[in-house]
């Protein structure tokens, strides 16, 4: 089938970008990124016609778990399918003659590096500020010494399933990272191992989140809709609760 692609092209972090159109022939079995492979092959084979060169985009595992792929597809991070990363989106979701516009994730805290590649190191810096339990290697008690109810363990897992892709930020009108931060805070608040550092963790992570230039949450819910791992908005509610707890605790 024939697809018309409008792709954001930007030569470097400080260059001016813009949309450029390409016509491409694809099959329904292709993944969305395989369509970009085919496009890039076309661009590479015709350097005279396409002096702008192939399109840079981030990708790695191509099975929806590493969180490296991004892309805003027709205005939606990771495209139209629920609970699906860009790499797992297949062209059978489109039909012959469709026009698709592809842009990078956009947020002040995710500057564009080139074309569809953005810098998400701000996410790592939030995690550095307490996204862990302080346990030295070798200092752990027997794994079964601390039973954890299945319901709590399952809920912790649901939050821990975050792949750190940044779709929540790209989907939010405020470019808020509350869902991402909430997922980590909630995961660790749900398990007994995370209790000791609970207060300090949420405070520090939120401080860094603010300093990195992410916006606040105004309850649009776009993050939850865009999240390929279906992290629930409950993570944000829990983050706010944890912040309140921390405020009370530090006021004591």
């Amino acid at each position: 089938m024939k697809i018309k692609l409008n792709v954001w092209r930007q030569a470097g972090p400080n260059a001016t970008g813009g949309l450029k159109s390409y016509d491409i022939e694809v099959t329904e079995h292709m993944s969305f990124l395989e369509m970009f492979d085919v496009l890039n092959e076309q661009l590479l084979r015709n350097p005279d016609k396409h002096p702008e060169g192939p399109v840079a985009f981030d990708h790695d595992c191509r099975e929806g778990i590493c969180g490296m792929c991004s892309m805003v597809i027709d205005g939606v991070p990771h495209g139209p399918n629920k609970a699906t990363t860009t790499c797992q989106l297949h062209m059978r979701s489109y039909k012959d003659g469709d026009e698709i516009t592809v842009e990078p994730f956009r947020a002040k805290a995710f500057p564009v590096l080139r074309d569809l590649v953005v810098d998400r190191s701000s996410f790592d810096r939030i995690q550095h500020a307490g996204g862990y339990i302080s346990v030295r290697t070798g200092a752990a008690p027997d794994a079964n010494a601390l039973p954890i109810g299945k319901a709590d363990a399952d809920e912790a897992f649901d939050y821990a399933a975050c792949i750190g892709c940044g779709a929540c930020v790209a989907a939010c009108p405020n470019a808020s990272a509350m869902l991402f931060v909430g997922a980590k805070v909630s995961h660790l608040a749900k398990v007994p191992q995370g209790q000791v550092e609970r207060v300090g963790r949420v405070t520090r992570m939120v401080d860094v989140m603010d300093a990195e230039g992410f916006g606040g949450c105004t309850n649009h819910g776009e993050c939850e809709a865009a999240c390929p791992k279906e992290i629930s908005l409950d993570a944000i509610a829990m983050l706010n609760t944890e912040l309140a707890r921390a405020a009370v605790a530090s006021a004591k």
Partner: protein, 643 residues
Amino acid sequence: MKLDSKVPSGPIEERWDKHRFAMKLVNPANKRKFKVLVVGSGLGGGAAAATLAELGYDVHCFCVQDSPRRAHSIAAQGGINAAKNYQNDGDSVYRLFYDTVKGGDFRSRESNVYRLAQVSVNIIDQCVAQGVPFAREYGGLLANRSFGGAQVSRTFYARGQTGQQLLLGAYSALNRMIDAGKVKMHTRTEMLDLVLVDGHARGIITRDLVTGEIKRWAADAVCLASGGYGNVFYLSTNAKNSNVTAAFRAYKRGAGFANPCYTQIHPTCIPVSGGFQSKLTLMSESLRNDGRVWVPRDKSKATADPTTIPEEERYYYLEERYPSFGNLVPRDVASRAAKKVCDEGYGVAKHEVDGQRNAVYLDFAHAIKRDGEDAIRDRYGNLFDMYERITGESPYKTPMRIYPAVHYTMGGLWVDYNLMSNVPGLHVLGEANFSDHGANRLGASALMQGLADGYFVIPYTIGNYLATEHQGPVTEDHAAFDEAEKEVRAKTQKLLSLSGKTPVDEFHRKLGKIMWDYCGMARNEEGLKKALELIPELRKQFWAEATVPGKADELNPWLEYAGRVADFMEFAEMMCRDALERDESCGGHFREEHQTEEGEAVRNDEDYAHAAVWEYQGDDKPPTLHKEPMKFEYVKLTTRSYK
């Protein structure tokens, strides 16, 4: 090349303890003076970087991805083995050791494997303490499952995302040390050369993948945890950025490369659907616990709706051929059996590839009838969803189609008991080394080995090197750095000067086809010799006809890729050479000349019970072969039988 395994003597269960006592310690006050470079941030590298920093070393960690959390360990699905015996079903350290040596088809080093089984129990403790949300029973204790040919339930898991959760655990430990200022993390940074001073590994040369800056890093020791080389086949379950470059550059600087021909072909992957295909997706082999593998007995029904084929017309070939293990035979056995039925014309793929329908059914109808759809959803829901996203078909309604794909590489840089290569100071962890899995890796053992190496082995053994063999300070202005940097710059320029018409992908795809056809699931002398002619020809074409766009001082994914493919094209030759030299069948290495009448592998212990270690001799000369004999004092060499 001297291959001294440095395995301690004495009873096997006491060796690691004895060795830990015999090793020299670094004075705590001196640790911060030692700089250690860790290349890779997966389970091996991430765990090592965090733990070495906790001990006080000055650690720098490098990864090619934009975050250490994206290392390919994250994609492991099924689980991690540990000899906890929480199920009281007869597991023990000795049994895990025995199963791993046997599963590896008697081509691994007994002492290393025993240690791996010993520390496996500590890994689970460590991960739980980090907050890793393993599956639990209703009573709150950890759940286990039986996995990939094990007859005890020793596998710990976190739904179908165990690798992700373990890696996020290691990532959190790493973050803690980054936060403390003890680890400096360098993301989007690729190691392009190893620097040796007076024969010791004393640094690396890197390229910043965003700015293109080439940089020198002098250090007191180097740990390579750069993963496996499955992408030499182009199509594999590996992430697209997984590559052999760091390990291969180390090889070219003198590190021996052991058993490169040992490749694991995973039996349960989604079949190829077209020529544009960029990678293959694995479906966890835990699915074989409940799924039954079959093909129609009537070849004309290859494309018929499988749910309409009556029970008596179904050929459950694994259950028939291996009655005691059935669908749970080890990976290499299951893969070859699938290839065999497809080669015989029973395949059920929707699309033909080279005139063959390469797929078999993995059917859950019986399990759903027995346990109910909810129970199956609970166990495999995310895998079924993933399958449906990729293929458009629901495994709840119709059997999955699966076919083997390249998944893991057991070969790697040779290391001794201390995980140090023959180049002093160069340590190699995880999939990048050769040590623990022999000729075939058992399911749920890769995560165990990566974390064992990173958390519980290297933190001790590197101290011994630094305390006893370390050579004094070296700085980045040493002549060896000048020379290495010059070579890196020259290679970058050479790649950028390629101004042909053909994208690098095409050469990679061609290389992959040569490797799959002649050095894949089954190999023979004639095919391997043919591959050894085809690969140099393809390499010549690459350097004459490939195109690499862009500049050196910018984010240039095509330059990165071209460098990795160029290395794969040299590496592939060594793989075929090794496969040719190993004139026996063992584990994942199946030489068609050596099989029983029923098609089972026939080992030759007299001539090949060794690790084959290749030493680089220059670009125009074949590498030389060295051998480390594998001695079996505890596990009796027997023919593996899963019948």
